[in-house]
Amino acid sequence: MTGTGDEIAAAAAGWLSALRDQDNAYFAGRLASHFTWTAHPFPRIDLDKAAYLALLKRAGAIDIGADRFDLRQIGDHFSVTLAGRFGSCPLAADPGAGLPDRAQYAALFGGRDVAWRTMWSLLDGHATCIDCHFVGSV
């Protein structure tokens, strides 16, 4: 892997632990200004960086375990797939933003393996995520 790839890998590997630890400074520092977050099976939900940071703040620490990781270079960008298993009630509080409430979220995804697809690049020498898509249950 290239030096850039190593840097992206190191940054992306922190994603799930940052969700788990409610380390919102990680996301504030790693998301591009044009970042977007989308989710299956909720096609109407399309959050920009500020809205996603607000969602994370509302939702609290997220119960996600057993990080798994795949990185693929595509031109100057890096596609990173992350997967893990949610706890039985993954969110500490209602997330808002048009998503189901905490109890509904637990019914949909609690105890299930879930995945995220993310796209990264090096912007101004800094490993930066430009897009995150939640696949849901896998």
Partner: protein, 143 residues
């Protein structure tokens, strides 16, 4: 997560090629066969692009030509699901209708934003009764 294997790459390459070919041949039966009931499509950086199965097929019918160069496809198995990627540079894109629906980017806006650009489709597939069903389709337009 299993590493990418040759059969997954071959399968995804075949499915993605068939999808593009079906658009160009205007044979939309492929989408009836391979889109799951809970299918959704989303895209970066197009706000409010998200759609379900019916809307996606309707918009697909307004696309008359689609072509890529420098193509690559692959994927990884996660449980019984394949998380795939398909990437290529858009060499041809043409719609037969300008209006893609209320609140949607126009056909001309989509063509201008994607022609000559590298796209990545992050997709998720599951087997249902012997058919690989696409249930999640997320487009990223790279700068």
């Amino acid at each position: 997560m299993s590493p990418q294997s040759d059969w997954v790459s071959d399968l995804m390459s075949g499915l993605c090629t068939a999808a593009v070919d079906s658009i160009n041949a205007r044979r939309f039966e492929w989408f009836d066969r391979h889109l799951a009931d809970d299918f959704t499509a989303t895209a970066h950086p197009f706000p409010n692009f998200g759609k379900g199965r019916t809307e996606f097929v309707e918009e697909g019918r307004k696309l008359s030509q689609l072509g890529f160069v420098d193509v690559e496809a692959g994927g990884i198995e996660v449980g019984s699901v394949i998380l795939s990627y398909f990437t290529g540079v858009v060499a041809a894109m043409q719609h037969i209708e300008e209006d893609l629906g209320p609140g949607r980017p126009s056909a001309r806006e989509i063509e201008a934003a994607t022609m000559g650009r590298r796209l990545v489709y992050h997709s998720a597939w599951r087997p249902e009764q012997g058919v690989w069903k696409l249930f999640d389709h997320h487009l990223v337009v790279l700068s």
